[in-house]
Symmetry: C2
Subunit: 351 residues, 2 copies
């Protein structure tokens, strides 16, 4: 029998993070990481950083990084919130903004953490089905609700919304907070940033894990009105004033300040994606149009789990989701051209 | 009038972090930071770290750092939980372990974040008054409760409990989780680690911000039974699987592996503390016995806020709490011998 103290513990279903094979010989196309290193300025920060500075607490407000991001997006620093990866930012945003008795709404096929946070923070929610091409029907979002979260582009489908569609979504949802999760937007999507001028209830969340090649550093941020950002800051400061460490703040700032490098690696990922999509179609795959750094593919005559298992044996890790509606699909992260050639060779052998 | 979406936001009183003056000429004795740099291995990690590794997600489980900590404390790695500073660990522990309808208990004079987390997570609580010497009366803790949190040594008083007293506390509280917050224990306190063998409901929380000189890196950890650690992991993974970044994990491991340096800087802080306490007593201050890296002092004939303001003018920042029972006290962090001499000179001039 459990000891009495066990009855006082929080009961929770553990969320198990995805597989992270550590071997260097593996081709890792399963976590939407960037195949290119971060901007050269990041290495320079590490090489020249005086470790003695770490004895002091960080700037709790992350002013230098907020200024760099504000300049990048044409916003004020007070419109920027920093977090420990975009999961941290999104979890805080769910807690901060989804406090209504009405359910929040989001697509039925989307980022798997949304229902986890709803359960954790006891937020009622309702999912709205994507159509058969994995597109959002904006009219589904016109009813009253407690909040909206839409990833653009969506994951794991890779499909994006236009700025006009986002404007339509916001025009019909002014009484609640609308979060646009732009984790993958830099690979050809249309950002909602221009809509911040018009909609005070819009929060945009981005990450440095994908387009900035800094998954290992844990930096996410939100852009929005001062009303929303102030609320996020208040909730965050109630937990922990110092979420961003001094080194991370400095390295992330170096990454943001190098716009040329950023544009260059995004273009390379996009070019490799388009080339890979074409080659996969030539092999008979159905490839969902992608504005992200991954492809969502299915083969009409081949079983997805079997392809997944075959690739794994070849040392190529992709992602398979055993979930309703998408259990015949694979999600393949865009690596280097060489990595994608190895993938295509393996698929050719298999087929 | 507020727009309708504002009604759906979380209402919260912002917690304002303490003052962090950035100038180098200031003597900063207000945040209990360590005056010495982190272990030399930390600088070495930064200098040699390949930034390309940051493109990949970190090890979500922080295995290498957990192993180093487990070896340091004679525990299993599964008895170690890692967090983004001990505030992160404590906030998760409050959520994970204080789920009873009975109030949790802690001293009336203690770390100011405890009531903040209770409010945030809607945890009922009751404070138990310290005696006039700022000592805990263990008999106050014998009644049924929803959980116990006791800092040892306590902050801002600096007073510690013996291992026998901790054993007594645990013997009388087996039906709830007991958290011992050991942020300052390495400066002469008695750690509860030997009691982990006996008490499965004991969680010990420590930080690298003080004795490891890594406040800027944000590393805290908890030590406890697998039952408690597994629960913390489940709650943490529901928020954000990747709280610890790759660079921080590597730098913190280097710090933990250098036991000699750690012992050496702790001994230096303790020696400076004892010398400073004696000098302050000679100036007429009443100095609370301290087992931490700060002194809690009052002067029978001088006003604490006035001393605080005078020191500030001299570029010396200490801490004053305008709170019941302690508003005649100052908390002074132990800096280098030179810094403490400057403080003592300033106090001599003032008196």
């Amino acid at each position: 029998m459990d000891k009495p103290f066990v009855a006082k513990l929080r009961r929770i279903d553990p969320y198990v993070p995805g597989e992270q094979p550590q071997s260097d010989t593996i081709i890792k196309l399963n976590a939407n990481e960037n195949p290119y290193p971060p901007a050269p300025g990041v290495q320079n920060v590490l090489r020249t950083f005086d470790a003695a500075r770490l004895a002091r607490y960080p700037d709790a407000n992350g002013r230098a990084l907020k200024s760099a991001l504000a300049a990048r997006f044409g916003l004020r620093p007070t419109q920027v919130f920093l977090g420990n990866g975009s999961d941290d930012v999104l979890a805080l945003a769910f807690q901060s903004f989804f406090c209504s008795d009405l359910p929040i709404v989001y697509p039925d096929i989307t980022y798997s953490f949304y229902p986890v946070w709803c359960d954790l923070f006891r937020i009622p929610y309702r999912t709205l089905p994507l159509d058969d091409d994995f597109c959002i029907d904006l009219r589904d979002y016109d009813a009253p609700n407690g909040g909206v979260i839409v990833p653009n582009p969506n994951a794991p489908t890779g499909r994006g919304l236009t700025l006009d569609a986002l404007d339509d979504l916001l025009r019909h949802n002014t009484d609640c907070v609308v979060i646009i999760d732009e984790a993958y937007v830099d690979f050809g999507g249309q950002s909602a940033v221009p809509l911040l001028e018009t909609y005070e209830n819009l929060l945009i969340v981005q990450t440095m894990s994908k387009s900035r090649s800094l998954a290992g550093l844990r930096v996410g941020y939100a852009l929005g009105s001062e009303t929303l950002i102030d609320t996020l800051e208040a909730v965050k400061n109630s937990y922990n004033s110092y979420t961003m460490d001094t080194l991370t703040l400095a390295a992330a700032e170096a990454a943001v300040r190098d716009e040329d490098y950023f544009q260059q690696i995004c273009r390379r990922v996009i070019a490799t994606r388009e080339r890979t999509a074409e080659a996969l179609r030539a092999l008979g795959f159905v490839v969902s149009p992608s504005q992200s750094n991954f492809l969502f593919v299915t083969h009409p005559r081949k079983d997805a789990p079997a392809i997944f298992a075959y690739l794994r044996e070849q040392g190529i890790f992709v992602r398979y989701f055993k979930l309703p509606r998408i259990d015949t699909y694979l999600r393949i992260t865009i690596g280097t051209d060489e990595q994608m050639d190895r993938l295509l060779d393996a698929l050719r052998s298999y087929l």
